[in-house]
Amino acid sequence: MSAPTSVLYDLPGPRALRRNRLIGVLGVLAVLGVLGLLLQRMAAAGQLTAARWTPFLYTDIQNALLDGLLATLRVAVIGGALALVLGVVLAAGQLSDHRVLRWPSVAVVQLLRGLPLLLLIFALFLGSGGAISVFWSLVLGLVLYNGSVLAEVFRAGVLAVPSGQWEAASALGLRKTATMRFVLVPQAVRSMLPVIVAQLVVLLKDSALGFIVGYAELLRQGRIIGATYFNVIPSLIVVAAIYIAINLLLGWLATRLERRSRRVPGQRATERAEEDVASSATGG
C-alpha cells in the first residue's frame, strides 16, 4: 500500500490480524449501510426504474448530451490555451528585472488569485453591460483566474531549477533571455507538467460555472433532460460520470507525460525500465 500505512503500522501479528478482520467487517457493513440507504431512498423516489434510465438510449438525448459536452470542451480548450499564454506572460512579468513590469504583474496575479472565479465572470458580463457575451465572459473569466494560477506555477518552476544551471549558462556567456529560453524554461516545464495538467483539469471543472451564468453546457443539458423525463438523479449521475471520465483521462495523460518527461535523452534502456518499475511500485 501507500506510504502512510507503512509509517503507521507494523506487520500485523495474529491478534492484530483478528482485530483488522473485525474492523474490516464492521467497515464494510457501515459502507454497505450508507450505500443501501441511498439506493433505498432512490428506489422509493422511483429514480431506479427502467423508465427513468431508458431515455439515455434515445439518440435525441445522446445528441443533447453530446452538444453539452462539446460546449463544455469548447470553453475548456479555448480557455485552457489562452490561460497558458496569459500564464507565460504574467510569469515572465513577475520574473522580470524591470520594476515597471514586475510590480504590476505581481499585483495582478495576487489580485486575481484572491477572487472567486464566479465574481470575475459576473464582473466581465455585468461590468461590460452585456457587450461581452456569456460565452466570452465565461472563457475570459477562466483565462484570467487560471492564467494567474499558472503564472505562479511557471514562476515556481523556473525558480526551482538548480542555481548551478543558471550559473553555468551565464558562465557560457548567455544573456538572460537566452538563459530562460534554452536552459531554465525547458527544465521548468518538464518538472511542472503534472501541476499544469492538474490546473487544466481544474479549468475544465470550473467551466461548469457556465450553468450559473446561463451558458448551455453539459450540466445545463443534463438539467433539461432531468426536467423533461423526471429523471433528475439519473441525468445528474450521467453528467457527473462524463466529467469524471474526462478528468481521469486527463490525469492518466499527466502521469504518462510525467513518466515520459523524466526520460533523459541517451539514457540506457535498462535504466529506463528500472525507473518505470520503481515508479509503478511507489505510485500506488
Partner: protein, 221 residues
Amino acid sequence: MDAVLDNLGLFADGLAGTLTLFAWSAVGSTVLGTLLAVMRVAPSSAVRAFATTYVLGVRNTPLTVVFAFVVFGGPILGLAVGGDVELQYRVFAVIALTLYTSCFVCEALRGGIATVPVGQAEAARSLGLTFGQSLRHVVLPQAGRTVVPPLGSVLIAMAKNTSIAAAFGNRELISAMRTGIENRGDAVVAVLVATAIAYLLVTLGLSLVFSLVERKVAIAR
C-alpha cells in the same frame, strides 16, 4: 461610491452569509476529510477502496454538479430540514461544500502523514509505545505541522467556492452584489469593486491567519 454606501446593510448581510457558509463548511469538511483520511489508511482493503473511490470521484466532479446533486436531488431523496426555505438552502450549500472540500482535506492530511519519516514511527514502536501513543506523541505532532499550509490553501479555496451557493438560493456576497446592481444599475463598477474588496478581505484575512498558525507551530527539524 454612494451606491455602495446606500447598500452597506446589503453587503454586511452578504458578508455574514459568506462567513456563515465558510464556518460551517470548514468544520464539516475538516471532520469528514479526517474520517476519509483515516479510512484511506484503514487495515481493511474494502474500506480503503471505498474512501479512495469517493475521493477520486468527487474530486473530479465540478462543485456546481455536486451542488446540483444536493439541491435538486436532495429533496427527491427526502433530504429536508423542514420549515424555513432559506435555512434549507443554507444546509444544502453546507452539505455540498462539505462533500466536495473533504476530498481535498483528506488529500492534504494524507500528504502530511506521508512526510513523517518511517524511522520516526519505527523508533516509537521500538521504545514500546502503543499504536495510539506513537500516533499521538510522535506521528501526528509532526504531520500536523506540515499539514497547515496545504490545509490553509484548501480552506481558502473553499471560502471562494462559497460564491457558487449564490446560484442555489443562498444569500451571500455574490447574491448581495446582484441585488446591488439591480438596485443601482448606474453604479455597476462601484458595486463590483466593493464585492471584490469584501472577498479580498476574507481570503487575505484567512491567509494571514494560516501563516500566523504556521509560524506558531513551526519547529526546526
